[in-house]
Symmetry: C2
Subunit: 340 residues, 2 copies
Amino acid sequence: MAKETIAGLAKRLGISKASVSYALNGQPGVSELTRRRVLDLAEELEWYPSSSARALSRSRAGAVGMVLSADPLLIGTEPYYMGMLAGIEAALAEGDMALMLRMVGKDPAQERRTYERWAGEGKVDGVLLFDHLHDDPRPALLDRLGLPFVLHGAPEAEWGTPFSGTTTDHAADAATIVEHLHQRGHRRIAHISGPRAFLHEEERIRGVRTSADAHGMEVVPFEADYALDAGHDAVVALVQGPVHRAATAVVFGNDLMSMGGLLALRELGLRCPDDVAVVSWDDSLHCRLASPSVTALFRNPGMQGRVAAELLLALLDTGDIQTRSMPRSELVVRASTAPD
Amino acid sequence: MAKETIAGLAKRLGISKASVSYALNGQPGVSELTRRRVLDLAEELEWYPSSSARALSRSRAGAVGMVLSADPLLIGTEPYYMGMLAGIEAALAEGDMALMLRMVGKDPAQERRTYERWAGEGKVDGVLLFDHLHDDPRPALLDRLGLPFVLHGAPEAEWGTPFSGTTTDHAADAATIVEHLHQRGHRRIAHISGPRAFLHEEERIRGVRTSADAHGMEVVPFEADYALDAGHDAVVALVQGPVHRAATAVVFGNDLMSMGGLLALRELGLRCPDDVAVVSWDDSLHCRLASPSVTALFRNPGMQGRVAAELLLALLDTGDIQTRSMPRSELVVRASTAPD
DNA sequence: AGGGATCACTGAACCGGTTCAGGTCTCACA
DNA sequence: TGTGAGACCTGAACCGGTTCAGTGATCCCT
């Protein structure tokens, strides 16, 4: 069968292409009767308008892009991404937008080139940005390219030009964690964060310190890179360093590092939670399954992804620039911080 | 700045649109000099051809689709999917194809409607198909829709019409697992498979039985659904049932069920591997981190995804229908089957 | 009855590429 | 010198939608 087109439908119904188009898109300019006839015929023929023709004439791709620029190994094991992806996809599907996913290594140039190409080719109408960095070059780049974007996990502080994004109150999350540890009797804790290059890690570090100060607790900060081994090595370094004596709890920046830390504790003959308690800043199945199971902050990645996608849809649709703050995360208390 | 187009480039260079197009696409019909001038100008202007215009005139979307139709919860926790996705994406990017990802629930109608729409809209040039079912309606549907597809994990048996796909020798994998258990002294094993509706599960079940027969071992088959709880409940059912007495090892169809099984064993006061050994048919970080760590079959999801994507690219490019068999999986032996 | 507003509809231009059917020009060969 | 081949290039049609300006017809209001 030859592919149907709008011209074909028009001919069958004895009306013009324009009328068909108006009818299909719910626009005024056609009678209810005509509209029905068009819609019925389209349904009967199982016909859908060509997305590329539409994209061309509307100058709109009907897709949004997302670059995952983390270490591929990390992406594969981080359940956080997949959960977020599901939320994003669900929201986009409702808005009839496709998701263009690109995975590149840690190379920032690759990410930049991807945006340049997407913009040049008109392949996406906007992008979702993650993991905001210090002096992040991406917002300026995207502005220059004319690509609208939503910043997931935007800084609370004000920004040069207004932007759309989700914000998380990392200080509140930090307080939740620290207060829990305080209540469990810990007075000196270690905080193994992700790279400080990420703004949200800075905020977490600050939040932890502030909250600890408020409760008269001491914090040993330690920077790592989210990998399993990083968590492991950090714990080894902490324990073998001079500061160990008093740190009775460790807060890890994500679930993978928590798992690494747990392995290290076991190797070192330290018991969790008796000798050292553990908290993870991300919850996941890993935390649930570990032994001991790990107390973790549930940040609801699916919902976060959904909200970010909805913001982007709104931005593309109406140009509305807005920020939405995420609801406070919940701490899921498990065995790793059980009261001795 | 106004958006550049091919007409703009042509005017700047004083040549025709056609020549620019030929030059850009490496087609004959232009001199080397002209080609260079065009390419240089395009680079200088950071210009890329509009993907939608290209898609329209070539009648090719430049994208392939993939529907993940598993339980969203499962998708999020199954590292297998993410690994495969990374491989697929890498291969597609090399072939300058985009990936269109759609996540729908377990509802087959949703999946069908997605294909119908994609085909009607011309949104994708082909699709990747997973988890082949008994009497799978999808190949016929896609044929009817004129959408080329690659079947990942195709049946070894011959098929009505020829098709492109990857095949896995599940019997060999089964033999690897069973022989390992035999060598460890097990003579009666349980096999907790995924749903029999999946062809590959049938093949695995057959493979396990065949191999067990060959070694004079007994198999207790048990059908479950890949979820964590399913693994848990299956173990409970097995242990409380009349057959338990002699089953000294359990083979799980994926890593999640293995984890569930481990939890159940712990609850039941059974020790692993001393009382019951455990093997997982999928390897992942979960298997590595569990205690005891779980012996698992490493099936290299990244590579599998890459190969499937490459097959699809070849199919779209040259129409080549071919099947590629995956290299034999490797068993990663860990503590859950340690020699007592 | 006349004038303006509204409605239903249409022809044609347009989006930005690709591609086909020629048109020159040059060069080799008979 | 004529002819055929080949290289280089161009105008115009085409892909399949959207959208704008314009045309009749109908209706309402004074």
